[in-house]
């Protein structure tokens, strides 16, 4: 047997941190949706974790691969703040699509490592919001946590290792989505309900989301067992 995985991975998985950050963003900033997106080896923004209203979140996160506020934040490395629905007009069709989903304000902050933008944290509300400097700083700090989680302990991360780390996380997200689909059928849930159940299970058992999802996919863990774990 070979020890391939470096030490940290045993105790830390970026997917879990991304989920935690998305959920904290919602709590701290009273947001409708929040999510963490990273730049993969194909140079495209991939959504790793979303929280809040998941149906709305899918809409806002999935179509910004090639344009939109998140895309611009990633390209410029600068935070982008949209206080009301008029502010979305400058993004043309993408802006209209976001507003049509019901969003009226949004904040995107970069995950920056020196000159490189590794991804963005995106937070949106279904009402207008005039964000204070403190709130923007809070969001930026969450993004900094994400950056550090992604580069882990390497002060000078190798580009290729970083790309592999991102790819590993992206595959983890896919695995989690597959598991959600299975759980949804098992328990006659919606996919969103299945998602909440999986996250709750992982939190209560201190298991990595990826590991729990793998067990579901391998048919070693069913929704009944997930449902049995909860606050005492």
């Amino acid at each position: 047997m070979i020890e391939i995985v470096d030490g940290l991975v045993d105790e830390f998985d970026f997917i879990d941190l991304a989920h935690e950050l998305a959920s904290k963003s919602i709590q701290l900033l009273d947001a409708t949706v929040a999510g963490v997106m990273v730049v993969d080896a194909r140079n495209e923004l991939r959504s790793l974790a979303v929280d809040g209203d998941l149906e709305l979140a899918d809409g806002i996160f999935e179509f910004q691969t090639f344009a939109g506020p998140a895309f611009d934040c990633r390209m410029t490395g600068k935070a982008i703040k949209l206080n009301n629905s008029q502010d979305f007009a400058q993004w043309g069709e993408i802006g209209t699509r976001i507003v049509n989903l019901g969003f009226e304000s949004m904040l995107v902050v970069p995950m920056r490592m020196r000159a490189q933008v590794l991804g963005v944290v995106q937070i949106a509300w279904t009402h207008p919001s005039d964000l204070s400097v403190t709130e923007i700083q809070a969001a930026q700090m969450l993004a900094d946590f994400a950056t550090i989680g992604l580069v882990q302990r390497a002060a000078m991360p190798d580009r290729r290792e970083l790309a592999e780390q991102v790819e590993f996380a992206v595959q983890g997200r896919i695995l989690i989505e597959q598991a959600k689909g299975m759980l949804a059928v098992q328990g006659s849930f919606t996919v969103d309900e299945a998602s909440a159940l999986l996250v709750l299970y992982a939190n209560h058992t201190n298991e990595f989301l990826r590991v729990a999802a793998q067990k579901v996919v391998d048919r070693e863990l069913r929704f009944e067992e997930l449902s049995n774990v909860g606050p005492a």
């Binding site: 070979i2 904290k24 020196r114 550090i148 592999e164 896919i174 597959q178 919606t190």
Partner: protein
């Protein structure tokens, strides 16, 4: 929201992220470098993975073979370039089986792994992570001594192996063999990633039973990054009690017959919770 900023804020957030407490010490170590510069450089690969993918797709018809995966291997050998390219599929816990190679060397090396029960493709399939051995004697020998030794005697000096997977669907490994030691250069690496993506797409298409003539078009428009595709895969795998890869193959075949994109059809499956869709 009343967060005190400055050092206190870190402590405050640290309590929020108690599970990741060690990050707080890290933030002090690294925070000086976060956002400290105004020139935003670009990207990891300057879009070269996408360029490589286009290069592969454009050259697809120049290679003749009845096996689509062999065509990809032959193209990989030329375009990455490598001395041999081999694709192996998992066949049980510790067994792999070579399914395509650009030449005999690829088959020989894959069979070596099969015979010895150790080697890079096996590790990749087990861990789901890429393995890079730029120099066999120093990097691979400590891990897989028998394999490293025999592979060297076949003239292999470096091995790069990548997982072919879609989340929980472990399709196999793509392994590049080189007769000269040394890391892959940036463009070689980008080509390997592009080839790896194409292998995943192509194996899934083959499993869907679609005619090979349709592959080039379907490969152009492939996007396996939509969450609904993977949710729908789980829904079908559970409903029909089939494997995840069969489920995805069924979805693809059904979408094709309905003249819908995979993404559109999967969104439909998710919205109907898997009822009456296949």
């Amino acid at each position: 929201l009343t967060l005190p900023f400055g050092a206190g804020a870190n402590v405050h957030l640290a309590t929020i992220f108690s599970q990741n407490f060690y990050l707080v010490t890290l933030i002090f170590e690294i925070s000086g470098t976060l956002g400290s510069t105004h020139s935003v450089g670009d990207s990891m690969n300057d879009e070269s993975v996408n360029d490589s993918r286009r290069r592969f797709l454009a050259a697809l018809n120049a290679v003749e073979s009845e096996s689509f995966l062999t065509r990809l291997c032959v193209l990989g050998e030329k375009l990455v370039p490598a001395d041999s390219v081999v694709i192996v599929a998992p066949a049980g816990e510790t067994i792999i089986s070579p399914i395509a190679a650009s030449n005999q060397l690829g088959f020989d090396v894959a069979n070596l792994e099969l015979d010895l029960g150790e080697g890079p493709s096996l590790e990749v399939i087990k861990t789901g992570k890429p393995m890079r051995f730029a120099d066999l004697p120093t990097q691979l020998a400590p891990i897989a001594p028998l394999f490293a030794n025999r592979a060297q005697s076949l003239g292999v000096a470096a091995v790069f192996s990548f997982p072919i997977q879609v989340g929980g669907i472990r399709l196999g490994a793509l392994t590049l063999l080189k007769s000269e030691e040394g890391e892959l250069g940036d463009s070689e690496n980008a080509s390997a990633i592009a080839l790896n993506d194409l292998c995943a797409d192509a194996i899934l298409l083959l499993q869907s039973g679609l005619p090979m003539e349709t592959f080039p078009d379907l490969l152009q428009g492939s996007d396996l990054h939509q969450p609904k595709i993977h949710q729908a895969t789980g829904i079908i795998a559970q409903s029909l009690e089939c494997s995840m890869s069969v489920a995805l193959a069924l979805l693809r075949a059904r979408a094709f017959r309905l003249d819908m994109s995979l993404k559109e059809y999967c969104a439909l499956v998710v919205s109907q919770g898997g009822q009456n869709v296949l």
